[in-house]
Symmetry: C2
Subunit: 486 residues, 2 copies
């Protein structure tokens, strides 16, 4: 049994063994245990109670969860405190959705002899898909991991969850899983509504398991695509809801660059260095006008980037990839480093790095610069006229977000918003893409590779991913669930 | 260029050349032409007008469409008259959905500083995925082909459609495509909102085309799975909404078998021989109690099956497969032929066949009998007690439908409905699965292999397959589409 170690990314040193990797038998046991709770989870009020209890439990264990997560991720106590509060809010948000019941999509059709063909009485709602697998993300040890949005929305839908822990925070994962399992027992549900496995091969075995009915994933394009291919290649293919990667382009018009260069530069640098640039919504490419107004913005951004505090990335591999990725991009023809990403060791954080900032003329933009570079760096692309900006945008694949900084009175503003919506799931006006609200109207998803399906992994409609419709035809209402008797 | 011939299935003879198979360049041209109409189709009132005009046009050309379809499919004028009326109804049904606008899923969140994290103003709706491919089915030359549900729902969503015609009715496909293209021009839209291609390789090229954003398919498991794999294996995978195959089991309780053996037998035989058994919802396996009440039902069914009128199948391959499939099943240990499927040539229809009916004890049920046999045959499975019936049902994969004949007062009736809903998308009480109403609450889909995704291809929510969500954050309402300004 391979040991699972907890690593301190500030020092690169092991904090000790947390668990062992799950072999095929352990994965099978975790899946069967979770699957066995499907009938118990069918009780809607009890499910809402579970979600509220999970919120309470993670809050009551916040100190331990946050300290452990900080030791494993170096994301810092303030950020992790906010992330845990988000998780508790999210559990209660989905409890409200379960109680409300609109998500069941109940539609009742009375018979209609005038329809062609004549319509019998039909009663439709949605039922859970079954047990689901959730892959935790590296960069959000709470909000996109064991107690995160995939887990909360799947449990809300009535689907038991088997989580594949991320190797960057196995101890946090164990604590969070225990918190949810304890919450289940507190409300009278089996603890196994959520089970946890560690290990890369365990993830593969999980996606292939015949009793797994869907997968939620947040992570890299190569890893996500490999698992997507496994899910699609099963004898019975299952939905794979993967969030894989996003460049999150920003377009700044000439007018606003001239009006508010310092504001926009400060906002941009704060956004792309937030959490050491380890957000899936980090603005990774910024279209800035050529000429004097753009120059002022670029100067301000370079100053802010150089002044940004160094920090540690989530693990040694990410640190190496970030520094190598920055160096490779900086060496491309026409690319200028306005701030240089580099090692910035301190006594407490010998693995820390400082942020980078790159600039290139739109004419020199090559495909390497359109690939996401995970970590604190962004690329300022200088465009000479709107047509050139438009040409850059039209070469983009799918994105989670796209952002417009424009004056609302600019004649082209509406057209830019429409264009950005063609390749992104969320279009931000005058703000920054980092920060994804847990809200009914949120979309956190976009055309491939942003996500592998036209759905959202954050917000109220994330629950729809774990459901399928069922229609009862001419069934006596007394024989149906209460929701369908109306 | 390979010629595309129209074949008369009653005689097996060619009616002449209709078109040529599309080579790669022709497929590319068809896709680009359709894709080029995306912006024009964004006009919602115009889209509703298109759908109403399409209904009018197919109705005004009904005689020609029906005569051509009958000559190519042998489905008969009465059935095809009903199917065309359904198609016109369906176009108008989706026009109403477009006008209503609820399908857009508009959600507007006001800012909320108390949310965690604080919530900015968010405005969400759904936008069309892009140009889509629709594969026509053999067995419904109108309702699941060029002018069918996939086409109507995709156009309603704002997605241009490239149809891959089915080789069993190429002339009908050409006429129907022209009707829709003419309807588009009548309302001021480009004719290319729908384009048509013929040929097996054209279908492959279509699924692989980078400008195709989703696929709708109705057909066999092998054909559908091959195309599903292509769609999932693209550099940018796309949703593949396939309806592949279904056994549509029926459970008859001992009590109702004893009460109404003749009624149920007559209903069953009418349902499984409807359209010569070429329905995706044909009841292909019927659990009938062992013992005297079941015996009476079986005797009545055997009589009705033997008396059923012979008819022609859709093509020679299906006829051969049906006769071979019947013979192979009838030869299995323990299987008894109550009516023997066989050639039944007449002067007008030298290729006609008569229906078959098989019986087997549950204990002798083998996997070959759980595979769909396209054509007029069903298998009566005799069970000794409810536990044995339950054991048979628990071995099933996904199905489009499952049907219960029980007395509403039977203590187990509700539990049977719940069990049937675990593997089927539509559960019918006291009726028959053939006949799928075009209605808001319809579900025509189910766990794999019934469909490849948890969606429906018939009914109001079929439109959801062709849409993706987009959220605008803090965007001035004046810059947004009217639907999002509220």
């Amino acid at each position: 049994m391979e040991p699972v170690l907890s690593i301190d990314p500030r020092t690169g040193e092991s904090r000790g063994q947390v668990a062992v990797e799950a072999d095929a038998a352990a994965v099978d046991a975790a899946v069967r245990a979770a699957h066995g709770t499907l009938d118990a989870l069918a009780d809607r009020p009890l499910r809402a109670a579970l979600l509220r209890a999970a919120a309470d439990t993670v809050e009551s264990r916040a100190d331990d969860l946050i300290a452990t997560a900080d030791a494993e991720t170096a994301l810092g106590v303030p950020r992790l405190t906010g992330e845990l509060a988000r998780v508790a809010y999210q559990f209660r948000f989905f409890a409200g959705i379960v109680e409300d019941g609109s998500y069941l999509g109940v539609v009742i059709d009375q018979p209609d002899q005038a329809a062609v063909p004549p319509r019998p009485e039909l009663r439709r709602w949605k039922v859970p898909l079954g047990a689901v697998a959730v892959f935790a993300a590296s960069n959000f040890p709470f909000a996109f991991s064991v107690p995160g949005g995939d887990t909360a929305s799947a449990l809300a839908a009535g689907c038991p969850v088997v989580v594949k822990a991320h190797p960057d925070h196995p101890a946090t994962s164990e604590l969070a899983a225990t918190a949810i399992r304890d919450a289940a027992e507190k409300v009278g549900l089996p603890a196994d509504v959520l089970t946890l496995v560690h290990g890369r091969q365990a993830g593969v075995d999980l996606v292939r398991h015949p009793l797994i009915s869907a997968v939620g994933f947040t992570g890299s394009i190569p890893g996500g695509r490999a698992l997507f291919d496994l899910a699609a290649g099963r004898p019975e293919p299952i939905p794979f809801y993967g969030e894989l990667g996003s460049l999150n382009p920003v377009l700044i018009t000439e007018r606003v660059a001239g009006e508010r260069p310092d504001d926009i530069a400060a906002g941009l640098v704060a956004s792309y260095t937030l959490g050491q640039g380890q957000f899936c919504t980090k603005p990774g490419l910024v279209l800035v006008p050529a000429g004097p107004s753009g120059d002022a913005l670029v100067r301000a951004a370079a100053g802010a980037a150089t002044a940004a505090a160094p920090g540690s990335l989530l693990d040694a591999r990410m640190r190496d990839n970030f520094l190598a990725g920055f160096a490779a991009r900086a060496a491309l023809p026409g690319v200028r480093a306005l701030a240089t990403a580099a090692a910035a060791p301190t006594a407490q954080a010998p693995q820390a790095v400082r942020a980078g900032l790159l600039e290139v003329a739109a004419a020199d933009l090559v495909s390497e610069l359109l690939e996401e570079c995970f970590g604190p760096v962004t690329v300022l692309v200088r465009y000479r006229d709107p047509a050139e900006a438009q040409a850059v945008l039209s070469g983009f694949g799918g994105n989670l977000t796209a952002t417009l900084h424009a004056d609302p009175d600019e004649p082209e503003a509406a057209a830019w918003l429409a264009r950005l919506s063609r390749f992104a799931g969320r279009v931000i006006f005058g703000g920054w893409p980092t920060g994804v609200a847990v809200a009914p109207a949120m979309t956190h998803g976009g055309p491939y590779p942003a996500t592998t399906s036209p759905t959202t992994s954050v917000g109220g409609t994330a629950i729809e991913r774990w459901l399928r419709p069922v229609t009862f035809q001419t069934a006596p209402p007394a024989l149906l669930p209460p929701e369908l008797r109306g």
